[in-house]
């Protein structure tokens, strides 16, 4: 067995990383097709404030991250519903407020290593507790998306028409926001708060280059994320690089590769 797989902490990192690689693009496809990718950025910054709060108070940081980001996400959903004209501006304000609070809380804490691990991701710090949280949560998210698949699809395609088809728009939007918040909070460990929004969007961009249907988009996006996380973690381990940055750079590389494949395919006239 290659050395990288022999360490318990790496085994945990791979397990958590692969779960994240399943759920981040799964949610990402719906988020991006709804035109809400900015929400991913905003929630990830707010989640960092939750992490800082957890470290400062000695609570396991993923819990306050989930709580704070769900509250922010529900606030965002309310804003999106009521004042859609200024939704982008509201997101920027919430993002700034989240980052501001995170910065202040970080400055009050003396555990800067802990904070750094959530900002940029960390392999060695993935704990048993992380596993216990990430695996069941990821399974729940996958089941929920599967259960409401057509509803989420229709919401992404056209929210107004979805209502007429009997889709419980409000309920599913709230559920979706909660799922995004949980996904982002769980992902902080592996890619870090600053890069999670990229793990949600870049594999989806890759999937979009190759897919011929919505289902294929989900499938290819997940494959791209799995490839990015696994090759990223291995590269980061051997070259002693930050895992978050390595995973994201590799996902950009796979995106470019997919874009080239699409270009060649179109030139050949195969569609």
């Amino acid at each position: 067995m290659p050395e990288v797989f022999t360490y318990t902490f790496m085994q945990r990192a791979f397990l958590v990383g692969n779960m994240i690689a399943l759920i981040a693009p799964l949610i990402g496809v719906f988020l991006i097709m709804k035109g809400l990718s900015q929400i991913g950025h905003t929630i990830s910054h707010v989640a960092l404030a939750g992490v800082a709060l957890g470290i400062l108070t000695g609570i396991y940081p993923v819990y306050p991250a989930i709580l704070v980001s769900i509250l922010a996400a529900l606030g965002i959903e309310k804003i999106r519903e009521k004042i859609s004209d200024y939704a982008e501006l509201s997101l920027s304000i919430i993002l700034a407020a989240g980052m501001g609070i995170a910065t202040i809380l970080i400055s009050l804490s003396d555990n800067s290593i802990g904070i750094m691990s959530y900002l940029f991701g960390s392999l060695t710090l993935v704990s048993e507790l992380d596993l216990m949280i990430v695996i069941p949560m990821a399974v729940i998210i996958i089941v929920l998306v599967f259960l409401f698949y057509s509803g989420f699809f229709y919401l992404s395609f056209n929210e107004g028409d979805a209502r007429l088809a009997g889709v419980p728009v409000k309920l599913l939007n709230i559920l979706f926001m909660i799922i995004i918040s949980i996904t982002i909070s769980l992902s902080l460990r592996i890619v870090g708060g600053l890069l999670i929004a990229s793990l949600i969007s870049i594999p989806v961009a890759t999937g979009l280059q190759l897919a011929r249907s919505f289902k294929e988009t989900i499938l290819y996006s997940i494959l791209a994320a799995l490839l990015s996380v696994n090759s990223g973690l291995i590269t980061a381990y051997y070259l002693d690089l930050a895992p978050g940055g390595t995973v994201i750079l590799l996902s950009v590389f796979y995106f470019l590769l997919a874009a080239i494949i699409k270009y060649l395919r179109e030139r050949k006239g195969v569609q």
Partner: protein
Amino acid sequence: MDRMAEVRNLYFSYGQEPVLNDIKLSVDRGDFIVFIGPNGSGKSTLLKLMIGELKPDRGKIQLLGRDINKFEEWHRIGYMSQQIRNFNRSFPATVKEVVAAALYREMGFIKVLNKRLEKRVDEVLELVGMEDFRDRQIGNLSGGQQQKVFIARTLVKEPELIFLDEPLVGIDLSSQEEFINLLNRLNQDLNITIIMVAHELQLIREAQKIAYFNGGGVLLYNQQDFAAAGYLNKDMLKAGRKPEVEYSSGGDYDA
């Protein structure tokens, strides 16, 4: 006769700008009504009010005998908005996926397509002549083909009443003719009640009743009265002039 929709003493304004004043309109099963009138006369607004997308300032709307605020049987209603084709062209969905989504309510506990519903999707695509395009991405189709897919999506729920907002805009002439034939079949063969906003003469000629919007009010005419008044004339339509006839035997309205 079976009453499909009823609008009573309806008022609506966009901010300070009144758009609809004291509107009354009754729609019976099997009706094919076209809303016409100058731009900004409130045709699309009334359609949006009738599907609950907008809330009236005053007045009542009933759908299938129920107050719109308490109405829940949206699966019996179909709606194609004017913006329907303004969707994201790079959205990666296939024709089948787009049509199937409308069957959400019938999907059971797990919201994915089963064999029975898949068959219904195939049947409705056949009805609109798009069965060979089921696995094609919707963004890659022509305007006329997309419109047929959207009418298929509206029809797959087997609605009894459909609202169409300018369905022929941006569609080439040959597709327009096919589309009009399709609407006639839906209305006459399947007894689907159709209410639509349109500017095209050929569509107005097909309707049984014509609701003319002008200055906040609505006048309803039978096709015969409307034609007899010599109103089926492009220039008059463009000018947005009010028809000469003031009486309609088809309904109970005026503004």
